[in-house]
Each structure stands twice: as structure tokens, then as C-alpha cells.
Amino acid sequence: MSSRFLTNCMIAAALLSPLAGCGHAGHSGDAVAAAAQAGTEGVIDSALAPGLNHTAITTDPRAAAYYDNAEAVNEGKRLFAQYNCSGCHSNGGGGMGPSLMDSEWIYGGRLEQIHQSLVEGRPNGMPSWGGKIPDKQLWEISAYVRSLSLPQTLAAQNGPTPSQTPAPVPRSADQDTGWAPPPGTTNDYGATTLGPHE
């Protein structure tokens, strides 16, 4: 654990009542090391990949533990309220911040992309939480946010407040390779028109 992290964690703790957990030193140390490693490649946000005919994606090995993990989404739901994420994003429908329960992702909807947005913040008003909230908790919040738009979570809604029982994020949810032509279209970049024939 770096001294910077310790300081920020203490600030976060001082701001929170009741006191939020600051995570275990071992977890946080791992997280910082992994973040440094992931930082060398970054997390791709854009579907525009010059020269490729499909979207390039990055995978962060730290995300793996948060798939198919019911505890992670439940803990993420609790933290989402505790850290006032709900103040802007409501119960997923948004308000001051954008909705998180639809299929539109401004900065990417894969688990590691959501985590990256939490760590870095985003220029139009999303605060940066890296170093202020323990990284394990940021992953749990990410898992909850990823869960909000899952068909399973949406189907569990009953009444005017979205589901309070978020479904775990199946590994398959993020296994598509990003952008591809919509169903029913032909993936033929070389298409030319022949004819008209006599």
C-alpha cells in the first residue's frame, strides 16, 4: 500500500459516516500493482479501431473475479448507495448523471471499462474515485453497474423502482468482441454492385 493511498483512504474515511471499510492492505497492494500494469496498456473505450474490421478490446485480468459473483453485485449495490453514486444515477435510471440501466455506454460497458471510468472519472461530471475508494470496492460497484442493464436484472423489476436484486454478471455478458455489423446484415466489406444486367 502506497502512502498516497493510505492518506486518501483516511480522507475518505473521515468524510464517511458511518465509517466505510478501507479494504485490506493485501488487496489494495495487489490492486495498485495490477493497476500500474494495466495502465501500461490502458482500457480501450472506443469502438473505432483504425485499420481493423472489428473492435479491439482490452481485458483486465483483475475483472475475472467479479463475474458470476453474486456477492460482488450485492456488495456493489450497498456501496453504490453508501458512496452516493445513487445521488446522481438514482437506482440506475440517472438524473444528475446518465442512466446505467439502458444499453448505451458513453465510455464503454465492459466490466473493466466501467471500473476505469470509476478510477479516472469522466470530463462531463463523473468524479474520479481512484485512490479514494478501495479498489476492490470499485470493482464491486462496477459489477453492480454492469448488472443493472442485464436482462435478468431488468426482468426482476416490479414497480416503479428498478430491481433491488441485481443478477450476477455472467462471464458471457462481456465476451462479445465489441462492435460487429447488426444481425441480418452481411459482413462483406468488399461489396460492389455488379450490373445492372441486361
Binding site: C88, S90, G92, G95, P98, N124, G125, Q157, G159
Partner: protein, 623 residues
């Protein structure tokens, strides 16, 4: 036929489960009648004189519109009378101008020296249009470039309520907390002063008041635990002259020997500290994001204060002074003269920042210098503005959170059945959090003696939730779901007689009326609707005489002015948004009724009626 009906029912049911249909209106027997809860210190005495604004506060109309409120009295009355109930039927759009911003446009266009000035929602562009030339070409555009992150601390869309022209300057605020004075000739800044800090949750959305060589500004942030303040700047230099906080010790609030509140509950030392749990006043809101009024006759500044934070009132036992009330201050040094609290220990987000209209009015057999205030909590307050005494308080919208105002103590009579609770949903509270009326300003006609109130008819379910304070993030702590008030019309424009203390007519609207009104010398009232109609009503009867469909819903402030050719013009901004229009202007999902602080529950159908936009419209008779 049978099959398709069954299918339709199924669709409706599933939509209902996802909160995509508007809830049922609150039954009429849930609210109190005006007879039950309206109170006045005396019976109406209209024979004592005619209601009007004083000439110091409402000088003879020069045909311009230099401040959002038209004049210091805030009557929003234009004496122009080319447009009448007979001629208005020929009213036509003359020009439109895209603002380049598709967010809620709440500002009033400003007209001075044959130039029109418009400030947009974030990123707060300012346009100057030359009214003397055909098509009103652009003279200049100023882009202040507020920091984009300021959008993340704006509670209820990224709106701006306008600027003012005075002494060759156009003065306005930016979302990220600047006050800027532009040279009206060049559009270049003469000064810009940073007043707010987004990293503690501060933003600025209000229209500055310019008077007496000073610029008066207040901050927003009542949903982020921001401590409210009001500031005066020197009009020539932008330098800070004084700053008064709306919570905390007397020295910060500028309460001293001059402070003479009318009611006992406002008397004492450091009530801005003592009426809170320890240190809670530091993060207690009381922001001034609505209307301030400068009284040129009594040399007094009046300003409301916003809701206390957090919304969860269980976390802040006490009166929470000086939130949800109104101050009278010395404009020179900010010293407080009196204070009145509309809603002590607010439990329902009833900010006190709505407009004050300064009138001379008959009451109790003689003429009084009053201010009329239409509060979020649902009452029309007529207050003696010389001393802060409430002369009458009557409901103008659906009310059941209180059972009237006790005029001996000045305190609202709390209805315990509608008090909010931790972990328990209290249903059908009226008015809703955004109030029987929000910031959208009323107008007053000296010809009819009536106020023209644009307002809401909405109620809500509310559950308190424990909330942590984390600096710079929302500090709310309530799960809210709004719903239509009795009758189901979510809005109305009501003509109100302040002397007789009753409505004269009311126009029902499907959506909350979130635009201001303007009333003219031709006895016409103009207002816009959230589904995009701009309307003219007969000021005496409420009959709709003319309407025109614009590109997007209207939540701005219409004006009436005299053009360079001597003819009467009407102008308004379209561009739906604001708190009530977030479902259209923001990336919000209708399936979450609690979204946008519970507003989405009652506005989920708005996207069927309008889309985001942002356009200046000018109307005139053919000539």
C-alpha cells in the same frame, strides 16, 4: 378486435410494471380546501386602494426588457397594447434562432438599445442579436467555456435563468460559478469573477440582480450539502463587496443589531448554528438559486433561501435556520434586517427561493407595502415588506403537508400524517418536492390587479434513507416517486387576486407549467408548455386566444418589447429540460421512477410529446 384489445392490455400492464405510465392522480379528498387552511389577518378591503407597484420599483415602461423580472418590482408587466384579445389571433412567428444547445432553456431574452441578448444553458453561450436589421443578425457570440465537470454538480439539468443589461454591460453567471460582465458593444469580458467551487458541489444557475452599482449573486448546491450564500459584487470591477451565508453563526449570516425579525422563532443568537445538530449547518444547504429582488423604494434586498440538506430531515433535527425562508438585507453591506421562515425543518424539499413581487396593496383598511411570494410549499404569502409580518397565507395548489399557516407565530401547522419517515414510505404528500410551483416566475398586471401564476399540480411518495456526506457528491437521502395531483392535470396557470385572496380563473395543462408568464397592457398573458405550445390567454377570463407549436417544450421566460419600428414583439426560448424535463434533455431512463429525484415517475410520458431543442422565437403582428 378482441385479440388486439387483449394484446393492448398486456402491453399497458407490462409498461405499468416498468413505471412507464403516469401514476393515478391523488384523490381530491386527500388535500385541504382553501377555506380549511387559508388565513388572513383581516378581511379583504379592496376599497382602501388600488394594487400597483410603486414608480420607483416599476418606472414607466420604456418598451425595453433589461432584466429578467422586467423591473425591480418583478411584475413582468409590459404596458404595450398593440396586441389585444382581438389582434392576437393574427400573431405570427417573425424569426427563430437556434441556440446550439439542446438543454433546458430557462432564461429570459433581454432587450436593450435595439439589441437582444440571450444566454443558453451550459455551456452558457451568450448571443447578441441586432434587432434593427432584418432577420436580427448576430452581432457577437461569447463562449465562456465553463469547466465541463460542472455538469456533474448541477442537480436538475444545466440551466441558466438569465442575465441583465445595465450601464453598457451584460452580466450573467456560468454553471461553474463565475459572474461575468460583457461589454454590450463588443461581447468582450470587462471582468469575470470566480465565486463557486465545483469541488465542494457549488454551481450557479440563477440570474444575477444588478442594482445600485452592485451585482447580487447566490449559489446552487442544495442537493450536494453546499452551504448557501449571497454575494454582492461591485458592478464596475467585479470585486467582492460582501458575502452573507444562509446558515451558521450570526457573524457569517451578517446578523447584528439591525436584525429585527417579526416572529419570536427568529429571535436569538446564532440560531443558524443552534437549530442544527453539531456542525450540520456547514453542509446544510439554504442556497439562493432563484429570485432576488432589489427594492429601490425601501433600499432593501430580498432573497429567499433554499431547502436544508440533506432531504432526509431525520438527520438534522431543529428548525435548520436560515433555510427555506426569506431575508431582507441592506444592499450596501448585506446586514440582515428581517427573516421569515416559510418552512422550518423542511421535510419535503420546499425551497424558499421563488419570486417576490413588490406591490402597494390594500389590506386591513389601508395601503401596505407588501411582497407577494408564491412558495414551493403551496401558499401565496402576502408579507409586509417593511417588517416581515405575514398578512395572509392561502393555498394556490394542492396542499396536505401542512394545515395552514398560524399567523400569530408565523409557523406552518404541520400535518403529522405527511411527515417523512426513515425507511417508511409516506404516500400522497402534496405538494411534491418541486413544489406547488418551482422557480418559474409569475407576473402581475396593474390593469387587472391579478397575479398570473404558472404552476404545478403534483404530489409524491417519500421515504427517508440514511445518507453519508461525501464532499462534492449528492447529499439527499430520500427515495421519492412523484404523481399527478387531484384531477390529473400536472400543471396550471392561475390568475390570483391577492386582495380577495382567491383564484379568478385557472387554465389546466397536462404537464407542469415550467415557463414564466408575462402579462401585457393589452390584457394578454403569454406562457409556454412543456409539450411545446406557446399560448396567449385573455388576462381577464383565461380564454386561450392564440397558440403556436414550437420545436421543443418551453420552460423559459417570455417577454414583450417594443421593436425599433415601434411595434410590439413577443419573444421566448424553447428547449425543454430543467428538473421536470430531465426525461427528455438528459440521459434518463423512464423505467426508474426514482430517477431525477423522483420526477421521472410523473414525467415518463413527456418523450412522446416533445424532443430536446433550444431556439429563440420572436413573434409579431404582420406589418
Amino acid at each position: 378486435m378482441k385479440t388486439s384489445l387483449a394484446a393492448l392490455t398486456l402491453v399497458l400492464m407490462s409498461a405499468s410494471a416498468l413505471a412507464q405510465t403516469v401514476p393515478e392522480p391523488v384523490p381530491v379528498n386527500e388535500i385541504f380546501t382553501a377555506e380549511q387552511i387559508g388565513h388572513g389577518l383581516s378581511k379583504p378591503t379592496p376599497e382602501a386602494g388600488k394594487t400597483a407597484a410603486s414608480p420607483q420599483n416599476a418606472p414607466q415602461d420604456d418598451g425595453q426588457w433589461t432584466m429578467p423580472s422586467k423591473n425591480y418590482a418583478s411584475t413582468r408587466y409590459s404596458s404595450l397594447n398593440e396586441l389585444t384579445p382581438a389582434t392576437v389571433k393574427q400573431l405570427q412567428p417573425l424569426l427563430s434562432f437556434s441556440l446550439g444547445v439542446n438543454k433546458g432553456q430557462e432564461a429570459a431574452p433581454i432587450v436593450a438599445d435595439n439589441t437582444m441578448y440571450v444566454v443558453t444553458a451550459y455551456p452558457n453561450y451568450v448571443y447578441a442579436l441586432d434587432l434593427a436589421k432584418p432577420g436580427a443578425p448576430l452581432k457577437w457570440k461569447f463562449a465562456p467555456r465553463p469547466i465541463p465537470a460542472s455538469q456533474g454538480v448541477a442537480c436538475c439539468d444545466v440551466v441558466n435563468r438569465g442575465g441583465s443589461v445595465d450601464k453598457g454591460k451584460y452580466i450573467f453567471n456560468t454553471l461553474d460559478g463565475q459572474t461575468i460582465a460583457l461589454d454590450v458593444k463588443t461581447g468582450k469580458p470587462l471582468w469575470r469573477t470566480q465565486l463557486g467551487n465545483i469541488n465542494v458541489g457549488e454551481s450557479i444557475t440563477m440570474a444575477p440582480v444588478v442594482a445600485d452599482g452592485r451585482v447580487y449573486v447566490g449559489n446552487s448546491g442544495g442537493e450536494l450539502g453546499v452551504r448557501g450564500w449571497v454575494i454582492a459584487l461591485d458592478e464596475d470591477s467585479g470585486k467582492l463587496l460582501w458575502k452573507a451565508y444562509n446558515t451558521g453563526p450570526d457573524k457569517d449570516v451578517l446578523i447584528g443589531g439591525q436584525f429585527k425579525p417579526y416572529y419570536t422563532s427568529a429571535k436569538g443568537t446564532d440560531l443558524g448554528v443552534k437549530t442544527w445538530p453539531p456542525d450540520a449547518w456547514k453542509i446544510g444547504g439554504g442556497n439562493m438559486w432563484g429570485w432576488m429582488t432589489y427594492d429601490a423604494e425601501l433600499h432593501t434586498l430580498y432573497h429567499g433561501t433554499g431547502n436544508p440538506g440533506p432531504w432526509n430531515a431525520d438527520q438534522r433535527p431543529g428548525d435548520n435556520k436560515w433555510t427555506a425562508g426569506i431575508f431582507a438585507r441592506d444592499p450596501g453591506d448585506g446586514t440582515a434586517h428581517w427573516f421569515y421562515q416559510f418552512t422550518p425543518h423542511d421535510e419535503h424539499d420546499y425551497d424558499g427561493i421563488n419570486e417576490q413581487i413588490l406591490l402597494d396593496m390594500p389590506f386591513g383598511g389601508s395601503m401596505h407595502k407588501v411582497l407577494v411570494h408564491l412558495d414551493r410549499n403551496g401558499y401565496v404569502y402576502v408579507i409586509d415588506r417593511t417588517n416581515g409580518e405575514v398578512l395572509s397565507a392561502d393555498p394556490f395548489g394542492p396542499v396536505n403537508s401542512t394545515k395552514g399557516v398560524d399567523l400569530r407565530t408565523g409557523r406552518p401547522i404541520i400535518n403529522p400524517e405527511k411527515q417523512t419517515k426513515l425507511g417508511e414510505t409516506v404516500r400522497n404528500i402534496c405538494p411534491t418536492a418541486s413544489g406547488a410551483k418551482d422557480w418559474q416566475p409569475s407576473s402581475f398586471s396593474p390593469r387587472t390587479g391579478l397575479l398570473y401564476i404558472p404552476h404545478e399540480n403534483m404530489c409524491m411518495d417519500w421515504m427517508n434513507e440514511q445518507v453519508n456526506y461525501i464532499v462534492g457528491t449528492p447529499y439527499v437521502g430520500a427515495l421519492v416517486h412523484m404523481k399527478p395531483g387531484p384531477g390529473g392535470n400536472r400543471g396550471a396557470v392561475t390568475a390570483w387576486d391577492p386582495v380577495q385572496r382567491k383564484p379568478v380563473w385557472s387554465i389546466k395543462e397536462n404537464f407542469p407549467v415550467w415557463s414564466g408568464t408575462v402579462v401585457t397592457g393589452g390584457d394578454l398573458v403569454f406562457y409556454g408548455t412543456m409539450d411545446g405550445w406557446f399560448k396567449a390567454a385573455n388576462a381577464r377570463t383565461g380564454e386561450i386566444l392564440w397558440k403556436y407549436k414550437v420545436d421543443s417544450g418551453i420552460i423559459g421566460q417570455p417577454i414583450s418589447y417594443k421593436g425599433p419600428d415601434g411595434h410590439q414583439y413577443i419573444a421566448v426560448l424553447s428547449g425543454v429540460g430543467g428538473w421536470s424535463g430531465a426525461i427528455v434533455s438528459g440521459p434518463v431512463d423512464p423505467r426508474d421512477g426514482s430517477a431525477a429525484l423522483g420526477m421521472i415517475n410523473v414525467m415518463s410520458d413527456l418523450p412522446k410529446y416533445t424532443t430536446a431543442g433550444g431556439t429563440l422565437y420572436v413573434f409579431a403582428l404582420p406589418h
